[in-house]
């Protein structure tokens, strides 16, 4: 088959000493970048572009791509061990991952995350390899109405993300949506809720909120009683997952791959979407869904696989059409241009050695990453053996300086602290923070998709029903919504009767 022979050539390109070395450097740097709060894959890639000038195009893009998915691997480490999401796709991993760490299963969680990421990444590349041009054309058909419909479902799924009932999660989502509107409205240029503070023009970033609510909030909660008790709790019994854990994670990993691959094709924050859709899917399918949130391995395996699969398939519109769908593929596009390679629909056919070399290096990169990450699991877990009394001030400082390093803004530090306190209060009141943050990230896209659709159709709502995809998705979301309310209401009818009468 032609694909396989091309792949073989690709491997010949990729397996040169220099390219493997570059891939390794990229993956290593990507992992570091992913683990560190604040610096994301984007900054990591841009920092290294000048270093690529002496290289040929293939080598350069191999290294930069390595950074990109290396960061995906690294982001889950801090989520699991410290409840601080390294980047937006890892928010969901915090929920069960951190609980697993507290129960002493942190090593296992890290292992499963790495393993799931590898499977998801590799299988996604296989899909990419065969289907890139075709899928790029399909992805493009997803316009504002379809996007809106999909996100509507996503938001309803978000409601079942939390430990509490649907009703308790909804106001958190609403709050997240509201906070997401802060900043300049991209469709009219009006400033919303900024009160003249220029740091807010672009809205409240993910990093200060996530690090605040998760990181600082968690530290504040832990320091409540006394500091001594935390030390004894962190005892990692084994680094490897147990048999049941491995067995339980097969299903989520494969489902996560499929889900992540498909969702990654969509523009925008696809890997965030894929991680929490996977989580809710696993929760639905589990025999004991109420255990989700207390450290179920499926809650780590599914999302981590999905977000890696999504980050690979997010390259498809870029490779197939030359249109980058996110900042990271965009920067890679520039790197290519600087090296004289022109991305575009003809990229695959005109520059096969770069394309296939890249594909081959993706496989290699995933292998390198899993080799890198497994021993690192031991390293990171040992890091946690450091007494909490030493650890937490350092974590606080890193949260502060990490946030500052993104935009050099003191306002963001204030936001960090504010959400730290808010996160703490929410924890005490038993509200889930994850849906709040996810709503904040995806909210603006939902709003924009809605308004763009209406702008296109001159105010007519029929645009949502003209498209078969949008129509089906909206119908699905209505069903889901009704079902959610039904399930929330039925078992606990007594205490929620009033809510039915007054609220909804």
């Amino acid at each position: 088959m032609e694909v396989l022979s091309n792949l073989f050539n690709g491997f010949q390109t990729a397996l040169t000493f220099q390219n493997i070395y570059l891939c390794f450097i990229g993956c290593l740097w990507g992992t570091v970048v992913g683990v560190l709060p604040g610096i994301g894959p984007l900054a990591g890639i841009t920092l290294l572009i000048p270093a690529t000038f002496g290289m040929d195009a293939t080598g350069a893009i191999i290294m930069l791509a390595g950074i990109y998915y290396g960061a995906m691997y690294g982001g889950s480490t801090t989520s699991i061990l410290m409840n601080i999401p390294g980047e937006s796709a890892s928010v969901v991993t915090c929920i069960d991952g951190y609980q697993m760490a507290r129960k002493g299963r942190g090593g296992a969680a890290l292992f499963i995350a790495a393993w799931g990421s590898w499977v998801g990444g590799t299988l996604s590349i296989v899909g990419l390899m065969f289907l890139a041009p075709f899928l790029a054309n399909v992805a493009v058909k997803f316009g504002p109405p379809e996007m809106f419909a999909l996100l509507l479902i996503a938001f309803i799924l978000l409601g079942s993300l939390g430990k509490g009932s649907f009703f308790k999660t909804v106001p958190m989502i609403l709050l997240g949506l509201l906070i997401g509107t802060i900043g300049m409205d991209p469709l009219t240029g009006t400033m919303r809720f900024t009160h003249g503070i220029k740091d807010l023009y672009d809205g409240i970033g993910f990093i200060p909120v996530a690090m605040g609510a998760f990181g600082i909030g968690e530290i504040l909660v832990s320091t409540e009683e006394s500091l001594v008790r935390f030390v004894s709790k962190v005892k990692m019994r084994e680094l490897l997952p147990s048999r049941e854990e491995l067995r339980a994670s097969w299903g989520p990993v494969f489902r996560g791959t499929g889900l992540g691959f498909l969702i990654g094709l969509l523009p925008g924050s696809a890997h965030v979407l894929s991680s929490f859709v996977s989580y809710t899917l696993e929760k639905r399918l589990a025999k004991r869904p109420e255990e989700f949130g207390t450290g179920r391995v499926e809650g780590v395996a599914g999302p981590e696989t999905a977000n890696n699969a999504a980050s690979e398939s997010a390259m498809i519109p870029f490779l197939g059409l030359g249109i980058p769908t996110g900042p990271a593929p965009a920067v890679m596009m520039i790197a290519l241009l600087i090296h004289g390679v022109r991305p575009g629909p003809l990229f695959i056919s005109e520059q096969p050695q770069v394309f296939w070399g890249l594909i081959a290096s993706m496989y290699i990169g995933n292998v390198i990453l899993i080799i890198l990450n497994l021993p690192l699991v031991g390293l990171f877990v040992n890091l946690l053996r450091v007494p909490f009394r030493i650890l937490f001030p350092v974590i606080l400082l890193i949260c502060l300086v990490g946030t500052y390093s993104v935009n050099s803004s003191v306002v963001e530090l204030v936001i960090l602290l504010f959400f730290g306190v808010l996160g703490y209060i929410f924890r005490k009141l038993d509200f889930d923070i994850a849906p709040f943050i996810l709503a904040m990230i995806i909210g603006p896209t939902l709003e924009m998709a809605f308004r763009q659709s209406l702008m296109r159709s001159a105010g007519s709502f029929s645009i949502f029903f003209k498209s078969p995809i949008a129509c089906t998705l909206i119908a699905l979301s209505c069903l889901l919504f009704i079902w959610n309310i039904y399930r929330a209401v039925r078992p606990k009818k007594a205490s929620w009767e009033k809510a039915l009468e007054e609220g909804e």
């Binding site: 000048p50 316009g143 240029g189 672009d202 809205g203 523009p267 030359g322 596009m333 241009l337 003809l346």
Partner: protein, 326 residues
């Protein structure tokens, strides 16, 4: 003893002269930052990142591009305007900056900065835009399209990369010059705007050669015309609006700006270096590979161009504002 004093006084005088007059000779002594107010991967990014390493060779100090995005370029623009005027923080400017400023003024809001907070160093490119439609659209020429638009006023829609941005205004200028009424659907950035037209979410769009030509070659979009006075070297088969009788032209310039109080010797040196790099083969090759054309406009001429354009843009905005619901 006397000679000693004389020597010392000569040395002191010499060093004083050197210090005051050596601004330009010394500069740069530390790395230079180029703020790009646009997202990575965009038009500005490509040109800035192609420029940076070449400028580095000439200046002897690292030239680093950082992205400071937000609010259609306002965040980065503001940072650039308020930077220390020592020549170490420059801004990658584009026509978006005066556009954004005029928009604020027209809407009765005080802009966070104005173009008079900057001094212009020069431009990389001054490219016109293409009018593009989906490849299977029934229009063979621009005239067909205009006829269709006139038959269905207010029904055809176009995508842009952002409100009052460099892919929105040319479309508005064209629509008014051709006498058609069309609707505007803003997207966030050149990429999504192009995805929209490729995916047929809108009826037409307007975008720059660097992003558009690859799609044209791959038969994903069909160009109908160039909004400008002349045809482009890289697309000689595509007529310009002027030659088709439509009085519309718009050039999305991309260049470098510095804070207005930057000392003249430094500004002159930067202009000199920029001219050499931009007209040098290495830079031209990268830009032409991307499908664009290099066009270096000196800083002073750029300032005059901006002044002339701002009058036109203010008038355009006044009309647009009248049509927007409040």
């Amino acid at each position: 003893m006397k000679t000693h004093v004389r020597l010392v006084s000569i040395l002191i005088t010499l060093s004083l002269v050197m210090v005051t007059g050596s601004f330009a000779a010394d500069y740069p002594t530390k790395p230079i930052t180029l703020i790009n107010p646009q997202a990575p991967g965009g038009t500005l990014d490509i040109q800035a990142r192609a420029f940076a390493p070449l400028a580095e060779k000439m200046l002897g100090q690292p030239v680093v591009v950082i992205n400071k995005t937000g609010a259609t370029g306002m965040v980065g623009g503001l940072a650039g305007a308020q930077a220390a005027p020592d020549g170490y923080t420059l801004t990658v400017g584009s026509v978006n900056i005066p556009n954004a400023i005029e928009w604020e003024i027209i809407n009765g809001r005080k802009p966070p900065f104005t173009r008079h907070d900057f001094v212009c160093i020069g431009t990389f490119t001054m490219s016109p835009t293409f009018i593009i439609v989906p490849p299977d659209a029934p229009y063979k020429t621009l005239a067909d399209f205009i006829a269709d638009a006139k038959a269905k006023p207010g029904q055809l829609a176009f995508s842009s990369g952002g409100l009052y941005g460099m892919s929105h205004l040319p479309a508005e200028i064209f629509a008014r010059a051709a006498g058609i009424k069309v609707r505007h659907v803003p997207y966030t950035g050149g990429g999504p705007s192009l995805t929209a037209i490729v995916g047929k979410q809108v009826d037409f769009s307007v975008n720059y050669p660097a992003n558009t030509l690859p799609l044209v070659r791959g038969n994903k979009v069909k160009p109908l015309a160039v909004i400008g006075a002349k045809r482009l070297k890289s697309a000689p088969n595509i007529p310009s609006t002027k030659e088709l009788g439509i009085d519309a032209e718009y050039y999305g310039w991309v260049g470098i700006l510095a804070p207005v109080k930057t000392p003249k010797p430094i500004v002159d040196k930067l202009r000199d270096v920029m001219k050499k790099v931009v007209e040098g083969k290495a830079f031209v090759d990268i830009i032409e590979q991307a499908g664009d054309e290099v066009y270096f406009l000196n800083g002073e001429e750029l300032a005059k161009y901006m002044d002339a354009e701002s009058v036109k843009i203010a008038k355009l905005y006044a009309e647009m504002v009248k049509e927007t619901p409040k």
